[in-house]
Each structure stands twice: as C-alpha cells, then as structure tokens.
Symmetry: C2
Subunit: 337 residues, 2 copies
DNA sequence: CTGAAAGCGCTTACAG
DNA sequence: CTGAAAGCGCTTACAG
C-alpha cells in the first residue's frame, strides 16, 4: 500500500529517517551494512517514496512537460503520436515522468506549469518562426528544448533531425544517378509561409544542393495536408513530364502514393525514380518501398531529452543546437540514367 | 516568479496563511471583504499555489494518468494521437493535469505511479480481454476508467463509443436500401483473436443484425494493419463479386480506399455501396466521402474523464459502463437497389 | 558513519 | 469570521 512511509522503514531497519533517506537516494555516506538493512526493510514493507513530499523538499519535480503542437482540425500529423511515445519513453529512461500539455495557448500552459511548479523542463514540439513559447520559457527561466530548430538566436536548446543533410544526401544521390530534372513534393504552401521549420530547412537545402549539381528542382506544394493530395500528385506529374525523379517530403502524400503511382501507370523506378523522407515507424507500418531517409523518432527524442536533462542540471551552459543524422536506406527506387 | 508563497500573500493582505488558503481554495467561510483583499494581494504578487505542497497536504494530485497502449512497431493507430489530445483537453477542462505513460508493462507503470502517489486516477486505453491492468487497478485501489469496454464483471468503469449500436445502424441502413450481400472489411485476424474489444463488439453486432435482416455478411480480415491492405481489399472484391455493399471498420484500410476503388474501376455507389466507421478527425483531414458513423473522439474522451472524476470523488459508487452514441452521417455512398 | 531537527509550502481541524 | 498550530513525508545541513 501507499501508506508506508520513510518512518516505517526507519523503524523496521532500526535506523533514523535521515539514514533511510540517504540510502534510498543512493548516497554512499552510509555503511554498506546499514544500507542493506534499510533496503531490506524498504523491500519488505513495499516502500515507495512519496513524490509530492520529495518535490516539496527538493524543489525538483522529476517531470518534464511535453508541449504538443496545437490541435489543428484536419491536420493529421502522422509523426505526432510517434513522437509522443518516443518522448515519453526517452523521458522515463532518463528518470523523468512526462506531463502532456495540449492547450491551444502554449504560453499560458507554460506559465501555469511553471507557476505551480509542475515540471523541471519542457519539450516544445513543432516550433515555428516567432514561436511565442520561446520568449515565454526564457522569461520563465524554464529549461527547455525545442523539437525542431528554432532560430539560432532563440537562446533555447534545439534538437531535430538534420533535414538539411537529409536533403543534400537525397539530391546528391539523384545527381549521381544522372537525374537532372527533379520534383520535390513538399508541404502545403502555408507551412512554408508560416516558416514551419523542418519544411523550410529541407526545401532550402535541397534547392541549394540542386543548384550545385546543375539540377532543375521544382517544388510542388501539396494543396492540403491529407490524402486527397494524390490528385495533386498526379497533376504535378502531368505538368512536369520531363521529371525523371521525385523526392517526397510529406507524410500524408506518402500514404496514398503507392496506389496513386500504380493508378497512373507509373513504374518505379522504370518511369520515375522516387525518394522519400519518412518517419521510421511509418515506414515499417506502411511498408514504404522507396529509397530514402528514415527518420528515427526514438533517436531524436532521446537526444532531445538528454539535452533537456543537461540543461536542467546546468541552466547556464551554452545553448546547444543538435542535429541528428539519419541514414539513407536504399530500397532500389532510384535508377541510373 | 515562483518564489512567492502563501505567506507573502498573507503578509501583503494583512491576514493569516490560513485565511489565504481558504480564500484561494474557494471556501466561502471568509468574509467577502477579506477575500477581496486576499485576491488582490495574490494577483499583485503573481502568486500560484505550489502544487507539490498542496499534494502533500491534501493527498490529492489533481493529475490523471493516461496509460497508452503498448507501442507496437508497425501498428500505426490513427486514432491514438487524437485520443491523447482529446483526453488531455478533457482532463484540463475537468481541472486535471495529464501524465502520459507509455511503458510496455502497463501494470508496472501503474504500480509505480500509485506507489509514488503521482496520480489520482487512470485512463486505460485500448483494453482487451484479460487485460492485466484491470486486476492491477483493482488491487491498487486506483480509480480508473477504460477507454473501450472491459468485460462486464471487470469491476472497472468503462466508456467507449457504442460500436454495437453503430454496427446495427450501418447494417440496418444497408438492409433498408435493399442490400442482401455485404462485405465487412475489418481488422487483422489477430485483433479478433486477442479480443481487442471494439473490433469484436462491432463485428458481432453487425453479424447479429445481418442475420436479423436475412443479410449475408462476409467478414474480410485485413491481413495487416497498414495501407498495404489495399491489395486485400481488391482481392476481397474479386472473391465476392455478388456483394453490393461494403462496411469498412478499419482506419488503415480507409486511408487508401478512395484510390484503391478508383484504381479498380469501382464506382461508388453505382457499383458498390460503401459505409465506414471513422474517427471524426480523420474524416475531416482526409475528406472521407462515405456515408458512415463518425466517431467523435472529444465526446468519448470527455465522458471518460467525467466518469473518472466521479469515481475519484466516490470510490465506492456502482460501476459505470457508458456507451457514447455516434450519429450516422449520410454522404450518399449508399444506393437503393 | 548516523541521528535530531529544521524546513519545503500548503491544508485543516480547532479555538477563539 | 479569522488565526495559531499541527501535520503531510520527504531532504539536508549540522552535530556528534
């Protein structure tokens, strides 16, 4: 039961509460023999530390807040759920509990969480340009890390997949196979306009790398974020009959793509070479049969939590900006011209 | 700053800590005039209650734990993320914070959360037959509600969409339009075998209702949970050329279906009438153009949190089992024969 | 190496 | 109607 306290353990072990506390928090100040008695007593009584009491005494919550992106109706992010799992898993492994915040107003949620001392730090999911949460965590002095890169001068740690590198790798791979006319199927226009970070970073790096290789890269924006974009896909292919390859950076488009291409009678890679950027979990679930960069959500989340943990430990250390490299998996959907 | 305590507020207002506490917790024992002074002082100082201290004093956490289903690689549940949002939103509105638990071993996670007094209650997502978490919450005395129906004698509150009713409505609708040979495209076999609750309930109710109408209902199990099942879908249609209608109860199949049907040259509803069961959020995002039952995740989550809240308030009240009705939306994909 | 004691910031009978 | 005081279960200097 939850009724057993440190006092009971102390009595059972014949020592003081202080000694129990030291042993249980892993201090090595206590003689091993005593420590053993204490551990035995704790085990026998089924003791668990009362977290509220510990929080009050230490002013630490051992909890991180995950601030999810606002819940946009109609925008069904496929990576989101995966990231929530990965973050929670990584947090647990790092010794933290995870509190989930889905408030439309992230700033207000942050303010309240800090005011009531609910969390030691925050993961800010899906930052975008001018994200008000950045200013908020700075003002609140809340150790935080963004999932996605904030602007360099944000003053907040950032971790994300290295989308620039992914873009370069993908473009270079196509170039080396002789492709000179390539389509980049991306996100809806508004996401670039709003400056949604991964979208912009990938696109700009791809364009730069394409220029470097003398490759014509045409960006096609999906007209909405959902599956309907299959129609856009086919339109894009018709409008660009000379394209020999296509890079898809859009989960939702990905989902219907296999069927769409077959429907259109497009043979991959015979008629068209295809590369994708896709969260690994989606790849497994959907048996994505294309060469591309698999984004390992667990790895990104693990790095984010680690960076956050260090920030919590050393609030004044220099700002960290970490890009996680993701490997290119060759599934044979690119052919040489 | 978080540094201002009840003591500061008391000083500022010229009253005792007790009085401040009473005012802030909404007790009406305090004269309105005093209360106003206190509130003004609290506002002026920017006071927020220290949650750890309150938890320790009251033995309540004002936090609910959401115990997510195990993270199955390759199983990409589309409703899952939506439910996490909806639950967190509903919890916040009910005055709770939300702690997210994704441990593979839910029982262990429950034990720890209760032992360390982290939560007042739990939402158990995706219960299935013989779910060990049910026994665990009973033993731990943890107020809980399942999202999805547990067995009737589980002793744990349950809330879910009324899938039986949804199945009956859908079958009845087809029957009234003269359909006598219908396909039910469901979940992978193993989900029925494992007794995954909503899958079984929908299927059995549909079968029963079909019998009642003298309708031949053939269940087609998707061979995997992901988009690949488009292939199964077309196979099923070929094997059952006499079927005049199809009910799809499988998010993943849904996603590719639009394309698949076009690819197969199947006109809806000319050649085939189609009904679906789909989370409303997916419907919006993916513009699902089929008649069917839209599952309102927010509504289900709101009910679940409400039931849990009452259970926390009255641990000994009779077990509640609540089914949320979801309306049939007619989008014209069923024709009369 | 161990224990007595103060303190974390609240809440809540209990007196008045 | 308000305040003094005990108590929630820990942690952590500080003495010894």
């Amino acid at each position: 039961m939850g009724k057993v306290t440190i006092k009971d353990v102390a009595q059972e072990a014949g020592v003081s509460k202080a000694t129990v506390s030291y042993v249980l928090s892993g201090s090595d100040l206590i003689a091993e023999k005593t420590a053993q008695k204490v551990r035995a007593a704790a085990a026998k009584l089924g003791y668990s530390v009362n977290h509220a009491a510990r929080m009050l005494a230490t002013d630490r919550t051992n909890t991180i807040g995950v601030f999810a992106p606002p819940h946009r109706a109609g925008y069904f992010s496929l990576s989101l759920g995966g990231y929530l799992y990965s973050l929670s898993d990584a947090a647990r492994e790092a010794g933290y509990d995870t509190m989930l915040f889905t408030d439309g107003n992230g700033v207000e949620a942050l303010r309240k969480a800090v005011g009531t001392k609910r969390i030691d730090g925050a993961v800010l999911m899906e930052v975008s340009e001018g994200d008000e949460r950045l200013e908020a965590v700075r003002r609140l002095g809340l150790p935080s890390v963004t999932l996605g890169m904030s602007e360099p001068d944000s003053g907040v740690d950032a971790v994300d997949t290295d989308f620039e590198s992914a873009a370069r790798v993908l473009v270079r791979n196509l170039a080396s196979h002789g492709h000179r006319d390539v389509l980049l199927v991306g996100w809806p226009e508004w996401m670039y306009a709003k400056g949604v970070n991964y979208a912009v970073r990938f696109r700009e790096a791809a364009e730069a790398e394409a220029r470097r290789h003398g490759m014509a890269l045409t960006v096609v924006c999906a007209r909405n974020e959902a599956l309907g974009s299959a129609r856009e896909l086919s339109a894009a292919l018709h409008e660009h009959p000379d394209a020999t390859a296509m890079i898809v950076h859009n989960d939702a488009v990905m989902m219907g793509m296999n069927q769409t291409l077959r429907e259109l009678g497009v043979d991959v890679p015979g008629d068209l070479s295809v590369e994708v950027v896709v969260p690994d979990q989606m790849g497994v679930g959907m048996r994505v049969p294309y060469t591309g960069v698999d984004i390992d959500l667990d790895a990104v989340a693990e790095r984010a939590v680690d960076v956050l943990k260090r920030r919590i430990a050393r609030p004044d250390r220099p700002v960290v900006r970490e890009l996680v490299q993701q490997p290119l998996a060759d599934l044979g959907s690119v052919r040489s011209l």
